[in-house]
Symmetry: C2
Subunit: 261 residues, 2 copies
């Protein structure tokens, strides 16, 4: 069994209005069951989701957190605007963003944007993946899955990786529940986070610096599904998440300490 991850060459610097499906179709030779992995940065750029800090008016909450973190209040306000909930306020902001994705600074990024601008994540990454995937399937006549990725930190360990934040025709989890193991015993439960595994390895090729490849084609897996899929299925419920409970408890205690001061 063999699996290949291949960079798509010649994707130009993306501008607002660029049609990513068209650009990928022109540069990549696509086959049935191929998975097209796309960095969210180029999706955001094609949607024109850049902004200037000077256009943001910070509120009281943003000013308070900005003081804690020695950040610009405008930046903090932009993060708050993109967030449903803040789990950690300081020394960095860990939030659940508008798409339920838990990440630092709501995924707002200043790398590879240019002109002093910042970049937001798309509003509906599943929808973006679907728009690109449907067009690619139409152009190629092939069965194509799409994964949109973002760079993320991890619990307990240093280092970032890419994770999936939007899906088209691929399920987030591959289920091994009830499968038999090597000795015929039924496996208790096992759900494999296949889309994060694919997103992570695509990052090995994408890179972070100037020589990055924002689109990677993955071939050799049999994960295509004709069904509608969504990244939402793999975000853990808040009430089941002991890590979220712990973070909120620490935040509560920190705020109590501050009030006492």
């Amino acid at each position: 069994m063999e699996l290949t991850f291949k960079a798509v060459d010649n994707i130009p610097l993306i501008q607002k209005g660029d049609d990513l499906a068209d650009l990928i179709f022109k540069e990549a030779d696509l086959y049935d069951n191929d998975i097209v992995v796309i960095a969210s940065t180029i999706v955001s750029k094609s949607l024109g989701l850049t902004f200037y800090l000077s256009d943001i008016v910070p509120g009281k909450e943003a000013k308070r957190i900005a003081r804690l973190n020695q950040k610009e209040p405008e930046f903090v306000q932009a993060v708050l605007d993109e967030s449903l909930e803040v789990f950690v306020e300081t020394p960095f902001m860990l939030v659940r963003n508008k798409n339920r994705h838990i990440c630092i600074n709501a995924g707002i990024d200043g790398s590879n944007v240019g002109g002093g601008r910042l970049l937001k994540l798309p509003n509906n990454p599943d929808g973006c993946a679907t728009a690109i995937g449907e067009k690619l399937e139409k152009l190629t006549g092939k069965k194509i899955s799409v994964i949109i990725t973002d760079t993320n930190g991890r619990a307990f360990k240093e280092g970032q990786t890419n994770v999936a934040i939007g899906l088209y025709k691929i399920k987030a989890l591959r289920t091994w529940i009830g499968e038999k193991d090597l000795f015929g015993y039924v496996l208790e439960i096992s759900e494999e986070a296949v889309v994060d595994e694919i997103a992570g390895a695509a990052n090995l090729i994408m890179g972070e610096g100037a020589n990055g490849y924002p689109v990677v084609i993955v071939r050799g897996l049999d994960l295509y599904t004709p069904e509608k899929t969504s990244i939402m299925e793999f975000y853990r419920k808040k009430e089941d998440d002991v890590i979220v409970k712990g973070l909120l408890e620490i935040k509560k205690q920190d705020n109590r300490k501050k009030i006492k001061k």
Copy 2:
């Protein structure tokens, strides 16, 4: 740029005393800069790290946690024996195991072992990776890196993936600090968790059920280093880890509640 992940065929069911480097050398055609990814289960089996629950004598602490989780006290004792610190006691045990790796049940597993036995993780996965890697380099005359993997859950999201727990001649993190981005701005900081990205994607091939491939060869990356490397460099320091702080706070509160009852 292209990256391939290839399963090694014909690795037999591993028994205590089997020489993994010999078996891999016989079945895989290795080139310079190849990365050999090996599931920890076969490393543990080759070292004879199987055990029977009936051989374990549970102590008071194990009995207490076993009652909370409705598990066998012998199993809980085995987990405690393999752990440096317990972060979550219930409804599951999340621990830092003897190798500093944070995981459920200290990585003790009953899948694919057979005969009612359980399997422990190796004591020194870096050392195991080194022993296999040195022998493979000697047998092949090539520059070979090795990653030993274990299956792990993730924060905030359902689903498991493979992560690296032992390394030979590959660094855990690829550093982009100070690199320039597309527009010539210096990237603030970026450390990519390359070994977990590789381990995760290898899992796409390894699988969990009866048709698994425990050894995967990764080709196309330039991550070989002649230096001694260790997985220890990527475990976050406890004092810097807000997630660990939160989990310990919740544990403290739970224990207080239990004492009150």
